[in-house]
Symmetry: C2
Subunit: 496 residues, 2 copies
């Protein structure tokens, strides 16, 4: 109860939609990001860390309108006496800051500028289960390279990255599509100047993953009854008009040459469309020349994510192995990375279009994939715990952990109240400690220490009474001088 006149105690809670990450959750992500950075670096990409805070103006999209421009971003106004302080906001991705950085520093940066960036981004959205308002992104982009060789490089790098972090070849595929091909198709359909129906077609294509070929066909034409029984109005195209869109989405064949021929058929005489097909062909050639065959990087016009946003080639990396979903059903793991070419981003600042292409890796999803593949230990071993039998001999215990650490072994002294020895073992258990070391007064006199193998102990305990357990060899007595050697031996045995 708060006493009268006192401030109530603050609640110890993360804000809604935020969370804390503990131990292995942090170190496994760090490790994965470090492997990814090593690949990016080898490809000639340079690290960039921009500030978490940008002006709302330079983030774009979220310009101040009425009172507070915090639709989608966390934003606040700088305190100035005249009330005209800048509006600042937390970045919502790593691409908008890249555009600002490139525009600001373009005279000092090399062109093309290959950069990678990794870090948290923030979204001011209603949080939901598993949906957080702060999460990590990991991006690589090439700014200032118009050549599709830049896009091909991104695909090769994405493939290398997945293998480097531990996704075996055959368990992933990088799919490539091209917005220009779709543009060509919209041209042949006569929809380029019909913004309303063009956008309706784009929105419909976005549903291809969900509703499939026949669903898209219905939605483009007369409309469709959805699963819930509701009728969804169609775009109102004729079946003939809808045909090229469906030809586009379903043009993938076993041979890339056939796929490309199908696309060529779909775009007809459109110059933009033919350019797009040509780009896909060049990418396919470059990939093959470097040994990235269709089992790793593949031209696949059914990739529709991002087609609305990007202006040229579009990439998506999918993990093809199966996992069990929440309901125990087998399903493919799915997408862990996407990207593409976007040529207009810097123009907002400078007035000049600057070609750019890149990818973003979904850090949490890729981490979950590695855990599903058993590439990341779910539980990480804790430190060796040196227990405290005699609180006046702390220096002795500290000397032990000092020796263990010198030998590269993670170790610590129990620093809580040592009175209750059971609490010390409970602590070691909570830490996932592999070993506890014990040196009471008698041991000290005899020049020995007790080493308790907690992992073997736990196994024995499952099948033994307390009395039996005490007698088992999960606890051994060794000369104090052999402490490090014996601990090492037991650790090696446990690791095996």
């Amino acid at each position: 109860m708060a006493k009268a006149g006192k401030q109530p105690r603050p609640k110890a809670e993360t804000p809604k939609g935020f969370r804390d990450y503990f131990g292995p959750e942090v170190t496994q992500r760090t490790e994965m990001l470090s492997s990814i950075a090593a690949v990016y670096h080898q490809y000639g990409f340079d690290a960039l860390e921009s500030s978490a805070v940008e002006t709302v103006e330079s983030l774009g999209k979220f310009l101040p309108d009425v009172d507070r421009p915090n639709e989608g971003v966390f934003a606040w106004q700088e305190d100035e006496d005249d009330g005209k302080g800048d509006w600042l906001a937390l970045r919502y991705d790593l691409t908008a800051p890249l555009a600002r950085v490139y525009a600001q520093h373009r005279n000092d940066l090399p062109t093309p500028y290959r950069r990678y960036a990794m870090g948290p981004v923030w979204r001011n959205e209603k949080p939901g289960p598993g949906r957080f308002r702060q999460f990590y992104q990991c991006d690589a982009d090439t700014v200032g390279a118009a050549n599709v060789a830049a896009d091909a490089e991104i695909c090769a790098m994405l493939s290398d990255t997945l293998e480097r972090v531990g996704i075996p070849r055959g368990d992933y595929i990088v799919r490539v599509n091209n917005r220009k091909v779709l543009n060509g198709i919209l041209e042949t359909m006569g929809l380029v100047d019909d913004a309303g129906r063009r956008d309706a077609v784009l929105r419909t294509i976005d549903k291809f993953d969900k509703v499939g070929e026949s669903g898209v066909q219905e939605l483009l034409t007369k409309g469709r009854l959805d699963a819930s029984g509701a009728f969804i109005d169609g775009v109102g195209l004729s079946e003939d008009q809808a045909a090229p869109v469906l030809a586009f989405l379903t043009s993938k064949a076993d041979e890339v040459a056939t796929t490309l021929r199908n696309l060529q058929g779909a775009v007809g005489q459109s110059v933009t469309g033919l350019e797009g097909v040509q780009e896909l062909e060049t990418i396919a050639e470059l990939m093959t020349a470097q040994g990235y065959n269709a089992d790793r990087v593949m031209i696949d016009p059914s990739v529709v994510r991002g087609l609305g946003y990007y202006t040229g080639p579009v990439f998506e990396a999918e993990l093809t192995f199966e996992i069990l979903d929440e309901k125990g059903r087998r399903r493919q793991f799915g997408s862990v990375s996407g990207g593409g070419r976007y040529d207009d981003l810097v123009k907002r600042f400078t007035g000049q279009a600057v070609p750019a292409t890149g990818i973003s890796i979904g850090v949490d999803r890729l981490l979950a994939a590695l855990q599903a593949k058993g590439r990341m230990a779910a539980e990480v071993q804790g430190p060796v715990v040196v227990t405290v039998m005699d609180r006046d001999r702390m220096a002795d215990y500290q000397a032990m952990v000092g020796e263990l650490r010198q030998a590269g072994i993670r170790a610590e002294v129990y620093l809580g109240n040592p009175k209750n020895f059971g609490n010390q073992l409970k602590y070691a258990d909570k830490r996932n400690s592999p070993i506890a070391v014990i040196e009471g007064g008698n041991e000290k006199e005899a020049g020995i220490v007790q080493i308790k193998d907690l992992i073997l102990g736990a196994k024995i305990a499952e099948n033994a009474t307390l009395e039996e357990w005490k007698e088992r060899p999960s606890q051994i007595e060794v000369p104090r001088t052999q402490l490090v050697e014996k601990v090492r031996e037991i650790l090696d045995g446990q690791g095996g």
Copy 2:
């Protein structure tokens, strides 16, 4: 010029007081933090990453008062229909979030809880030269351990950390003081219940670094003329009353036993004071038992930073080597880390005092120190650049970088417009590339490539005319099949 009716272009600028970090600035920091994390981990500390955003309420200190509680922090109010949304803010350090995390998760966390955290923090302050509103901190704390063995462990770990990142023994010192000793002295002075004069004494002690012994003496008594000629009022103590404070600050002797005796004399009969001296003695004993002698960790009552904030032992790591300051004068590098015991932080949330002790490393300062010691290359080598002589043979060039990368060599193809070859070499120069690879049509036919040693080339160019330079062996011709081998050879030679 913005066209009429169009939005003006946004300015490409970081907000005031924020900055971008490029290439080595990012990777060197990452590398240093990773070395520090390795030491912390070996000491049994677990990683924690809390969210950047906390409720203003749980950050404390900055409770909403009038309109916007953004004194010192970046804060904003959650959008709720009733206008009563929570106030959120960016964390201003890593300690306040630790208190919240421990209070929130204490039933699941081990006790004691050793944790480390590294990441950016934000301060809403007027930016100045070299003073940014976002910067990195790197902390390690032990929560729930009342024993000073926990403090001693922190000191040992700090010493190990500095050596691990590259500060040699002899170039740093960890100094230890204790707030309880000072409390004992305030007791003997009869100032415990005289909050006004007690705080005045604490503020005066804070100036010890600046004004020295005689300065503090004057400020505690009758006042003092400062350097600018202004008179600073004294606290008004008698010389006898001021004496124990000065005895405390100057009690450091060559032998720790003498230092402790001096402190004992200064605290007189105060129980708190004697407890403080006893704690320092225990720390000194534990350090010596582990081989951390006074050349690494030393009891030094002249350490005054943080004495007002902490409740027990106080630590400071100073780098003792000299650097040249902006004005070319030699001075000691100074402090890179500080910390101490603070036993009341969690109490705000739970009502129960929880003992805690820890340190914070000034990441930017330590990085600057490593640069000053030549431990970090100021400029980092760029990638090998494969130039593009024939844009239709991009696949050939991509194959070359593919082979180089396979061999672990950082390499890239020039992805800009290849028309002007000079631009390609300028690009390689801007990237700090060690080598450029050239394969024109003639070379292709002859089965050879040109390898240009750009580092040797630059050296020669300093002392040669253009004509001479062209003839120099900084450019060699090798069979295409020997590309990787020769590039490796030249890189090895450059590195030597």
